[in-house]
């Protein structure tokens, strides 16, 4: 249970699809001019992620992993079809998006019209394929966790596009320098929001371990280039904070 809660908050805030790994930026930038369309697309993304990540988890577990074919019989035990994962994942996603398109067209034609070309483009929304690829890369252990991961990453993406759409509706009344209008200022705002979201990184470390910068593929890049001086400083700060907390706890008791 605890791991579910941890994964849930981690995927929404710390590893937020938009702010931590930049996935789904194209539709994020293109559809975020109005809150109403942003909500529609966000909901569609949550749904597609919630379906495709568990489906692809099953594919990964029973077809793609090293030795996954063992259920067919002993002689298949040393097959590794891992190189096929891109094609299988994208096929699942394309099918599911087609399905969503049909459903939305049937039940909400107005939403269908306002999303326009961006509904089929969910298929090429990096957040969707990214969800499946990160699920594979992080070796998520059970089907339940995979479902959780899909839903919560979707919610994270939804939050991000909702926030930027709200800001963009307001920024129309501001005096932005002409060359920055539109795309430029949206990039910079997203960057600033990303910095804000970085502070959620302290949420789950609990102060016991040295804080890992960001726990995904970018972390490998970070570890390599980060100057050791800076890292030392960070650890010290974290330790200090922890000592302070425990001291406060003691005095309260």
């Amino acid at each position: 249970m605890l791991e579910h809660i941890e994964l849930f908050f981690k995927s929404i805030f710390i590893d937020n699809m938009v702010f931590a790994v930049f996935l789904g930026m194209c539709s994020y930038l293109a559809v975020s001019k109005k809150v109403a369309t942003a909500v529609g697309l966000g909901a569609a993304v949550i749904f597609v992620l919630a379906v495709t990540v568990p489906l692809n988890w099953l594919l990964d577990k029973y077809l793609l992993q090293d030795g996954a074919l063992v259920w067919l019989g002993e002689e298949y035990a040393d097959y590794n079809l891992g190189f096929l994962s891109f094609i299988l994942f994208i096929a699942t996603i394309a099918t599911m998006v087609q399905l969503v398109e049909i459903i939305v067209e049937k039940f909400s034609p107005s939403l269908y019209n306002s999303l326009g070309i961006f509904l089929p483009l969910i298929a090429v929304n990096c957040a969707i394929l990214g969800g499946s690829l990160f699920m594979q890369a992080r070796e998520i252990a059970t089907l339940g966790l995979a479902l959780n991961y899909g839903v919560s990453s979707g919610i994270g993406w939804f939050l991000a596009i909702l926030a930027i759409a709200a800001i963009r509706e307001k920024i129309r009344y501001s005096n932005v320098p002409a060359p920055l209008r539109g795309l430029g200022i949206t990039f910079i705002i997203t960057g600033l929001m990303g910095i804000g979201f970085q502070s959620f990184g302290g949420m789950l470390t609990g102060g016991d371990d040295a804080p890992a910068p960001v726990e995904d593929t970018t972390a490998e890049v970070l570890e390599k280039v980060e100057a050791p001086v800076l890292e030392e400083g960070e650890i010290k700060k974290e330790e200090l904070e922890e000592n302070e907390v425990s001291y406060n706890d003691l005095t309260q008791k």
Partner: protein, 215 residues
């Protein structure tokens, strides 16, 4: 030379500046920004995209008359996925460390909007040679931005370029560090990439006011 008429040259040169896929067409930002903390990764990613988009555009252009329009997205995805698998396997075989650094982002070339965008907008309506030029041009336009961002982030963030220390040794305090210069750790974290791209857009649009958008 008959191969490169003026119009053909435009196909390659336009996307480099005034019709840049990232800063003007708003395509392909997704998989681009996260890997620009190092210049080397940016360069490899650019090469991979040049290959995938160049070859992919030619393949789609050759098949443009036999693809039924209903299933064209799936056909396009299969073509891209096949090419990306080739890139991925080559990287794993010859540059394993780098393919680890790029991680899932190699796979995300499949969903790079530039590629689908160019297939839809150009390759489905034009011959193979033009499509090839268009693919190379757009991929290079993407690569230029990637390399500019990677250059500034690596230089300012860790004081190196392609892994070679440019400003001296930050620990031994040699070179520029002796004067009290410090690496800007901010440039390493992911949001910095967005801000650098924002600044590139700002510079580009100040130089060419035609590109300025409405709010």
């Amino acid at each position: 030379m008959a191969l490169l008429t003026k119009k053909d040259a435009g196909l390659i040169l336009d996307p480099l500046a005034d019709n840049n896929p990232i800063t003007i067409q708003v395509l392909g930002i997704c998989s681009a920004l996260a890997i620009t903390a190092e210049l080397e990764a940016s360069i490899v990613m650019s090469i991979a995209v040049v290959f995938v988009l160049g070859v992919g555009n030619v393949v789609i252009s050759l098949m443009r008359n036999i693809i039924p329009s209903k299933i064209r997205i799936i056909v396009q995805l299969i073509v891209v996925a096949t090419l990306v698998i080739i890139v991925d396997q080559v990287l794993k075989a010859y540059a394993y460390q780098l393919s680890k650094t790029l991680g899932a982002f190699v796979g995300l070339i499949i969903t790079n909007c530039i590629i689908m965008g160019r297939f839809e907008a150009f390759a489905l309506a034009n011959g193979p040679w033009k499509s090839f030029l268009d693919g190379i041009g757009n991929a290079l336009g993407y690569g230029v931005i990637l390399i500019i961002v990677g250059f500034f982030r690596e230089l300012l963030g860790s004081g190196t370029l392609l892994g070679y220390p440019v400003f001296g040794d930050p620990i031994m305090k040699t070179g520029l560090y002796a004067t009290g210069y410090e690496n800007n750790g901010f440039m390493i974290i992911p949001p910095a990439a967005l801000i650098v791209v924002g600044i590139i857009i700002w510079v580009q649009r100040s130089r060419n006011p035609v590109l300025v958008e409405e709010n």
